[in-house]
């Protein structure tokens, strides 16, 4: 029993000793003090905190390599100017002169190291003239104007497959828009709108899965799908129109614009078109205004506007 209590007493006093000796060092480190062995005094120091993307880079301080790799903290730095260099094989080095202040942290935590040879990967397996990325479904659509065919793959270029033929436009389309039900893709240049059926085979296209609507009247500025995935909202340089997704569809004027090339935004969630146009005020001057045109079914029954001709079969959406 005696020896056990003696061991315990030794352990207790050892613990107290470790606490008394260790605490000043831990606290001085935490508070940012550096023990200067020459002056035997604690001097307030600063810190450089380094983070790189990617991590694991070598660090140089005033030309001297440090043992640690990023992310890391260089502590106990006396206030002053320091040259920091970060190196990682196959990446461009990063270098900067930084000032370290007493009791402060200099954070260098947004360093991106760019690869010497960028990580470029070829995705297409066929020739292509243009492409479109469907971010929601994480698919790439490749348009090959040589064989008028659309190919698709995932974002890594894998799962590459033939999709559907399409009608090419001249000049090539500048924009692609997927209908909300994901069944149709439209694309357009200044005077043509192409529509391709991705999944469902339409009944009135004689076996084809695509058609082109020519639009020689004005320059097309933008085209949007209505949320019903059947009507198209077309904004040209002079007017805002609506038309159905079928060959030979006739566009109906909704608004005739006073201003050329109006700015437009279409909110498909509420089927609302926001656009700018000049309007003559009472003082006789023209002012630029922002307008809101609601196109949802409750406010503006599109079928009524478009007046389907008697006996005409409505294409399948």
């Amino acid at each position: 029993m005696f020896s056990e209590q003696k061991v315990r007493a030794v352990l207790f006093h050892l613990s107290v000793l470790i606490f008394i000796i260790g605490l000043p060092f831990i606290l001085s480190f935490t508070l940012g003090y550096k023990f200067d062995s020459r002056t035997l005094k604690f001097t307030k120091a600063g810190i450089i905190a380094l983070k790189t993307q990617p991590a694991g880079a070598s660090m140089y301080l005033n030309g001297l390599i440090l043992n640690e790799k990023t992310p890391a903290t260089i502590g106990e730095l006396l206030p002053g100017e320091y040259n920091v260099r970060v190196e990682l094989p196959d990446y461009y080095p990063w270098e900067e002169d930084v000032t370290v202040y007493a009791g402060q942290v200099t954070r260098l935590e947004k360093i991106i190291l760019f690869p010497l040879r960028p990580n470029i990967k070829k995705l297409n397996k066929e020739r292509l003239s243009s492409f479109w990325i469907d971010k929601d479904n994480r698919r790439v659509y490749y348009f090959n104007q040589d064989d008028n065919y659309i190919y698709t793959s995932d974002l890594e270029g894998d799962d590459f497959e033939d999709l559907v033929p399409y009608a090419s436009l001249t000049p090539p389309p500048g924009k692609f828009v997927l209908s909300q039900d994901k069944s149709k893709l439209l694309y357009f240049n200044k005077h043509q709108i192409g529509v391709v059926y991705l999944a469902v085979k339409p009944e009135n296209l004689n076996g084809r899965q695509h058609f082109v609507i020519d639009y020689p009247r004005d320059d097309i500025v933008d085209v949007f799908w209505h949320s019903d995935s059947f009507h198209i909202i077309l904004v040209s340089s002079r007017r805002i129109q609506v038309l159905e997704t079928k060959p030979g569809s006739e566009a109906i004027d909704l608004v005739v614009l006073n201003k050329k090339n109006s700015s437009v935004v279409y909110d498909i969630n509420s089927d609302t078109l926001y656009f700018t146009d000049y309007q003559k005020a009472d003082d006789g001057n023209f002012y630029n205004n922002l307008y809101k045109l609601e196109l949802n079914a409750k406010i503006l029954p599109l079928q009524d506007i478009l007046k389907i001709k008697p006996g005409e079969k409505q294409p399948q959406n």
Binding site: E4, Q5, V7, R8, L11, F12, S15, I18, F19, G22, L23, I26, L27, F29, T30, L31, G32, A45, G46, I47, A49, T73, G75, G103, Q104, V105, R107
Partner: protein, 497 residues
């Protein structure tokens, strides 16, 4: 009298006021002087790690001693003693205070007594029931039919309800039973000074060598009437069936008691323990109106013997049940209530201080040391987990953007505390190994895979610290400070067969 009541209230308020004072002071400090608060947090963390490593070493020492003495034939050692205090003169009085526990809990406790490597004609068993339990008579009859002839004496006592001056506590029931046993002991011409009384929780299953070990220590300890005898409580009865959360909490409790067994100057009786029956009579039995009867009885004897009273550790186990319920939430709530009841041991502080003030004859330095130890242990219990989990991040959260982002202290604080706390992993590994070594054999109905669960469950420790670390102690101290006195709540015991 009125003055005495005021002093008592003041002493009741003291622990809670100090604990809350420390917590509130640190919160304000974190907002006003975050650097000072950070310094305090780091100093405390460092202190806590050293303390944890120190206590873990004591735990290893206690465990080694327990392992060394595990297979000792204590009865043979008793027989070999030739000191004039023969073991044959000794009588063991074993009291089981019972409230709601049924036959399924009590039978294994009595079976364990029956299986003891000690002559049963030297053992008197008292099953102390509460009269207010309507099933008490039925349970008593069933057990009497089974065990009455097995021991020298077997008594069933029924503690009446609403006795003047009593609260509904375990101590009141045990005291009633001890008084009935005293009549039995007198009638059989057994000397009180030759009687050792053991007061066991109802689910306590003793090791088969317990009474031999107890007798040996009683016979070899100088002034045996000025000592209590404390076995190591383990919760092995249902440990394989208990859920992880409850199992870890009880293993930790067991380990704490093992550590205390090495710190003799602070050692106080806890849960199931034994002492001289003569001393018990001299100090007028257990307290009848306090919840923490197991520790107050020690302080009563300590004051009675003017500070010349101690606890002798017995490196032998008594096994109890892990407290758990049907759902995890109920188990957490049950464990919380049990820990709060243990933390209610803070009521010992006013009791001891009033005893000291009452011209106790305890030496002054001993008074200071024991009251400091008692107060310090309860205050530390109430604040340590709060400091480590709630206060530690406050300098960063309340200290402002400059402190958190730009100052070296704000930058270093989470890194230093994180690094320091990694050292507690060393202690955790030791605890995991020791927990494996103290486990009873796996029952046949438990799958082998439970071994893996029991290793991995230690990741729950931070959550347990958060829930049961300091909160029950803070709760108990606040209640005592506000004079919202607790009633004794029996912990529900569940055992699967």
């Amino acid at each position: 009298m009125k003055n005495n009541r005021r002093i008592k209230r003041l002493l009741e308020i003291t622990p809670g006021a100090i604990s809350w004072g420390i917590i509130l002071f640190l919160i304000i400090l974190a907002a006003v002087r975050p650097v000072l608060a950070a310094v305090f947090v780091i100093a405390f963390d460092f202190y806590w790690i050293i303390r944890t490593l120190y206590l873990t070493t004591l735990l290893v020492m206690a465990h080694q001693k327990l392992a060394r003495q595990k297979n000792t034939d204590w009865l043979r050692l008793c027989k070999e003693l030739n000191n004039g205090r023969g073991w044959l003169n000794l009588c063991h009085l074993v009291i089981f205070p019972v409230y709601k526990e049924g036959v399924e809990i009590l039978r294994p406790s009595l079976e364990a007594l029956k299986m003891s490597n000690y002559p049963k004609d030297r053992i008197v068993v008292v099953m102390a029931y509460e009269e207010r339990n309507p099933k008490a008579k039925i349970i008593a009859a069933a057990l009497e039919a089974e065990f009455k002839g097995e021991f020298f004496g077997y008594l069933s006592t029924f503690h009446p309800d609403n006795i003047q001056g009593e609260s509904r506590t375990k101590g009141a029931n045990a005291t009633w039973a001890a008084k009935r046993a005293k009549e039995f002991i007198s009638k059989n011409n057994i000397l009180y000074e030759n009687t050792i009384v053991s007061c066991f929780d109802a689910d306590t299953c003793v090791d088969k060598e317990y009474f031999g070990c107890l007798a040996y220590h009683f016979l070899t300890t100088p002034n045996p009437h000025q000592a209590s005898y404390q076995p190591i409580p383990v919760y092995n009865n249902n440990i394989w069936h208990a859920p992880s959360f409850a199992r870890l909490v009880e293993i930790s409790s067991s380990f704490c008691e093992m550590i205390e067994s090495v710190r003799l100057e602070k050692f106080v009786t806890f849960s199931s323990h034994s002492m001289s029956f003569k001393t018990l009579i001299d100090i007028d039995y257990w307290p009848v109106d306090m919840i923490s009867d197991d520790s107050v009885v020690y302080w009563k004897a300590f004051l009675y013997h003017k500070g010349q009273y101690r606890v002798v550790p017995l490196y032998i186990t008594v096994s109890m049940d892990v407290a758990y319920s049907s759902t995890i939430l109920k188990t957490v709530a049950m464990q919380y209530r049990q820990k709060r009841r243990w933390a209610w041991g803070v009521e010992n502080f006013p009791f001891l201080m009033l005893g000291f003030l009452d011209n106790s004859g305890v030496p002054f330095l001993k008074k200071i040391r024991r009251s400091y130890h008692l107060l310090e242990s309860h205050i530390t219990w109430a604040v340590w987990a709060v400091i480590m989990t709630v206060i530690a991040p406050l300098p960063i959260l309340l200290g402002g953007a400059y402190f958190a982002q730009m100052s070296t202290v704000g930058y270093n604080l989470p890194r230093i505390t994180g690094t320091l706390l990694h050292f507690t992993l060393i202690a955790s590994l030791v605890w995991i190994v020791l927990s494996r070594l103290t486990l009873p054999p796996r029952p046949a109905d438990v799958k082998w895979s439970r071994n893996i669960v029991m290793m991995l469950e230690w990741v729950l420790v931070p959550f347990i610290v958060l829930i049961l670390g300091s909160t029950p102690a803070l709760d108990a101290q606040t209640r005592l400070a506000l004079a919202k006195y607790m009633n004794f709540q029996v912990t529900e015991k569940t055992r699967k067969f």
